[in-house]
């Protein structure tokens, strides 16, 4: 009876809400009265290893607790400016990935006679697998030129597979999803407004700000650790919060004002705020005169864009729009509109981000306490080796943004997207057509490192077609992800707790360097990325660039450039340097932080005008969903990182399946209840699912919302496989931002097709027991 009562309680608790994080029902076992308490790991001889986390790309400093040759727990490291002794759920749960029995365990070579995508492999030695890869790369170099090898890379190891090896091999066709599938609009806009990028760690001066406006920025569901701490402390301090979002996000639930904006109309709202700041003379006149150029053009440009004009477009009250502008001004310069991170929405995103920066500039907050601080990278020397034939070109979250017209004569062909965008970084999705068409020249080989090609790049059908057309496709990963099981050769990497990586230099208020070091030996026959890159380099005849005998001497040499050593860094974990966070710090040294052509904040951009783009942001109405369809919006779960963590049993216990959020009134109209399963079908007839409906008041009626990263179709990932829906699978199209090269991904419309079966899946608890 008691067992039944408990099971009943758990079931009723689980029905409270779709986001309810409850223990799994029906997981009870009859207890064995003879069992005794196991000895706990912390009762043993626990060793602590300082490293930094890899379960997202925020790079928090951590302390790994090792006992009996196993990592049991990972905690925040107090002396690290990213974690400050705390960790998000993903960081806490990362250890479960290391002990995931579904990991890639040894190199695999696709069976002769099988097609890419059939998933038929045989095991191979490292020597054989690396030999096949090197021979394939050299054949491509011979036949088409080294530029015909492409590298897609994401994660700490992208220093090896996005920068080091490609630059040594001499290919500029290197892309990171963190640029054109994420931050490129905000980086490009910042570069051409402030003359400085935003970088991987948004330089928002949270600790001094009094008024925060978030636009489509899901802090709380997006658990970037430091940012979440800063956000929470700012609110605790009494900072006011305005959240602009079509969805009542977690951040919106903490806000003083929630503005449920019509999707795709943010630029109109920002133009109206500019209009009020100018027309009511609320802008910081002294700051504008001292640091900016183009104010008169901006003032004339925004004159027609009144709150009343924006109200009709955004579905927001004109009075509220006006009041927020006035409140921003009243709190300026301690008022800030943070840039957000994933800014590839509608294809005109650089202009929207420009509008956001212009509001910040008129508040006089850039380089000023309570606004944006000026992030500085730390100093650290490179390992001495001959100059690479090409400079690394992939960029990253903090990748440089440059002049589209600027070309450097290197003797190599420029990347296949070069000259198209105002970004020095490569637009990863724009490399794919060259694999299919051979224009402007053929990309014949691809190394995919840590990038899920089918869950990050829109138009998956095109990606599959491209993979089929390649001469060589190599995947380096930890898990048998959907796209990995298409590769000719699969190289299994060790997880972050088992390896060294290159040093990471974080641009920050207090710039710092972090060491990645192994807590335990790699499991099975897996290898660290540095080892794989070096072994490949040696087989490719690139010995002169891989002139370090091992990673320890490589790291030690670099660390000695700042008076440290590997031995010291292993004890210290994080090395913090001094910064110059505010304009006053720069002026004292007679330095100008603004790297724009004019050396000032460019409210109007002559460079954009010269290239045929609008010098000032213009609102462009988004395409409307057809009758019966909804705009597909997507976001984050606090416990998941992209499509990387859905096979982690601990994190999946917290959030094991995504659902499709539908406005409650719309759901009633469609005859759908929460928990009903539907298919999602896009404007081109592509379906994915089944997925459970979550009928909610927390969303406008013109859109639906899913958490990104679910819907794996990867039989080797026993936990992830078949759970939930993939938003990327439904993105058969995207809208290219012609300025940044970003792929706008808020342009998918879906219908909810009822009657889908509830997937029959193995019980999560049963699958999890394999790893404990």
């Amino acid at each position: 009876m008691r067992l039944k009562r408990r099971a009943f309680l758990k079931l009723s608790a689980a029905s409270v809400g779709a986001m309810m994080l409850a223990p799994e029902a029906g997981a009870l076992k009859l207890p064995n009265p003879l069992a005794r308490a196991p000895r706990a790991w912390y009762q043993g001889d626990v060793r602590t290893v300082l490293t930094y986390c890899e379960n997202c790309f925020w790079k928090c400093g951590v302390r790994a607790s090792v006992e009996g040759g196993r990592v049991w727990k990972v905690d925040g490291y107090a002396a690290n400016p990213k974690s400050r002794g705390r960790l998000c759920p993903r960081g806490q749960g990362a250890v479960a990935q290391t002990y995931d029995p579904d990991r890639l365990k040894r190199p695999l070579i696709r069976l002769e006679g099988s097609e890419r995508g059939e998933g038929k492999y045989r095991e191979a030695s490292w020597d054989e697998a690396l030999g096949v890869v090197a021979a394939g790369m050299l054949a491509i170099k011979e036949k088409y030129g080294s530029e015909s090898m492409a590298f897609f890379a994401h994660g700490s190891g992208d220093t090896w597979f996005g920068d080091y090896l490609p630059a040594a091999f001499a290919t500029p066709n290197v892309g990171k999803p963190s640029v054109s599938l994420c931050t490129s609009p905000r980086e490009t806009a910042a570069q051409w407004t402030f003359g400085r990028g935003i970088g991987g760690h948004e330089p928002v001066d949270w600790e001094n700000t009094d008024y925060i406006v978030l636009i489509g920025h899901h802090i709380g569901e997006d658990t970037h650790n430091t940012q979440l701490q800063d956000f929470s402390m700012a609110l605790k301090r009494g900072a006011r919060l305005v959240v602009v979002d079509p969805r009542f996000s977690v951040a919106a639930s903490k806000a003083d004002r929630w503005l449920p904006i019509k999707p795709g109309t943010d630029t109109a709202l920002l133009l109206a705020w500019l209009n009020v700041l100018v027309s009511e003379e609320l802008y910081d006149r002294a700051y504008v005169e001292a640091y900016t150029t183009g104010f008169d053009a901006l003032a004339a440009h925004v004159a027609p864009f009144t709150p009343e004009w924006a109200s009709g477009i955004t579905d927001l009250d004109a009075g509220v729009i006006r009041v927020v502008a006035r409140e921003l001004a009243a709190h300026a310069p301690r008022a800030v509109l943070p840039p957000g991170r994933h800014t590839v929405w509608y294809g005109n995103d650089t202009q929207r981000m420009r509008a956001l920066y212009l509001v910040n500039a008129l508040l006089g907050n850039y380089g000023v306490e309570g606004g944006f601080y000026l992030a500085q990278p730390p100093y650290i020397g490179a390992y001495p080796h001959p100059a690479f034939p090409l400079e690394p070109s992939s960029g990253g979250c903090s990748g440089a943004s440059g002049d589209a017209a600027a070309t450097i004569d290197t003797g190599f062909r420029p990347s296949v997207d070069r000259g198209t965008f105002f970004a020095k970084t490569t637009a990863v999705q724009e490399l794919i057509p060259a694999m299919i068409t051979g224009e402007p020249y053929r990309i014949a080989g691809l190394v995919a490192y840590g990038v899920n090609l089918f869950h990050s790049i829109p138009d998956v059908a095109r990606t599959r077609q491209a993979l089929k057309a390649l001469d060589l496709y190599v995947a380096i990963d930890v898990l048998p992800m959907d796209h990995v099981m298409w590769a000719d050769v699969i190289l299994p990497e060790a997880t972050y707790l088992e390896r060294y990586d290159d040093l990471v230099a974080i641009a920050h208020k207090t710039p710092f360097i972090e060491l990645r070091q192994p807590a335990v030996e790699p499991m099975w026959d897996t290898k660290p990325g540095w080892w794989i890159a070096r072994e490949l380099g040696l087989r490719l005849g690139l010995e002169e660039y891989f002139n370090w005998p091992d990673i320890e001497s490589y790291l030690d040499t670099r660390l000695r450039s700042i008076g440290s050593s590997l031995e010291k860094a292993r004890q210290q974990g994080t090395i913090v340097q001094g910064g110059r966070p505010y304009l006053a710090d720069w002026e004292k040294r007679h330095l100008n932080p603004f790297g724009t052509p004019s050396g000032r904040i460019e409210l109007a951009s002559q460079t954009f005008a010269d290239a045929g783009f609008d010098p000032l942001p213009v609102f462009e109405a988004p395409e409307e969903p057809p009758e019966g369809s909804y705009r597909l919006l997507y976001g984050r779960s606090p416990v998941h990182t992209f499509a990387k963590t859905q096979n982690n049993w601990v994190l999946m216990e917290m959030h094991g399946e995504n659902s499709v959020w539908v406005n409650a009134a719309e759901a009633r109209r469609l005859g759908l209840d929460s928990g009903d399963y539907v298919w999602l079908e896009n404007q081109q007839g592509v379906r994915d699912g089944p997925v459970a409906v979550y009928a909610t008041e927390r969303l406008r009626p013109d859109c639906v919302y899913v958490v990104h990263g679910f819907g794996h179709r990867a039989p080797g990932m026993k936990i992830a496989d078949g759970r939930g829906v993939s938003d990327t699978a439904l993105m058969s199209r995207y809208r290219l931002d012609p300025i940044s090269g970003g792929a706008g991904m808020h342009v998918t419309f879906v219908k909810l097709v009822p009657g889908a079966p509830k997937p029959r899946l193995p019980r999560l608890g049963k699958l999890a027991e394999r790893s404990v």
Partner: protein, 193 residues
């Protein structure tokens, strides 16, 4: 001797579950059961909405109904007021599970009853429970309720509202909730000692 207690500021909690994951790994909680879970409450109609996340776990009652029902004495209270289960003497009869008004206890598949221990093993070394240490919103505070200068006493004193779960049960929980959004029905503060 301390009287350990915890406060969770619901105005700060974002329901990210860092606490729940930290608990799971710190305490090797097996798959399928949890010592700590998070409840989401939503109310209102678009666009007038309210919501809160509420992490729940053993409330470490001052008068724990789970202790007197234990036939073997496995369920006990330490001198620091922490309610624990001794796995060696537990016969897994389930009486405590039935007695707990908060559904905070579970059968560990290894053959005993278990629940939140306030990470009692960390306290002697001066470390707070794993959930408190990791929380990225800093919504959890911990310490000695009898010490007016402890983190938890300071947080409770500074809160605009303090709630306990099911005060009518007379259990006097030592885990309290601070600053719940006004839209959710208040629970009486009187039950806090």
């Amino acid at each position: 001797m301390a009287r350990y207690g915890m406060a969770i500021d619901l105005s700060a909690c974002v329901g990210c579950a860092a606490c729940a994951v930290a608990c799971k790994l710190e305490n090797e909680v097996p798959p399928g059961v949890s010592r700590l879970w998070i409840r989401l409450e939503e109310s209102g109609t678009f666009p007038e909405l309210h919501m809160q996340y509420r992490p729940e776990q053993c409330l470490q009652c001052d008068e724990p109904p789970c202790v007197p029902v234990c036939p073997t004495g496995a369920s006990h209270v330490t001198s620091d007021g922490v309610v624990l289960v001794d796995a060696e003497t537990c016969i897994a009869c389930g009486a405590c599970i039935a007695a707990c008004p908060y559904d905070a206890r579970y059968f560990d598949p290894r053959g005993f009853v278990s629940k939140c221990t306030f990470c009692e093993h960390r306290l002697a070394g001066g470390r707070p429970p794993a959930c408190v240490e990791t929380c990225p919103t800093l919504c959890r505070t911990f310490g000695d309720l009898d010490d007016p200068d402890s983190d938890v006493s300071t947080a409770i004193r500074g809160a605009r509202r303090v709630d306990v779960l099911k005060p009518e049960q007379g259990t006097h929980p030592k885990l309290v909730y601070l600053n719940a959004p006004a839209s959710f029905a208040p629970r009486r503060e009187g039950a806090l000692r």
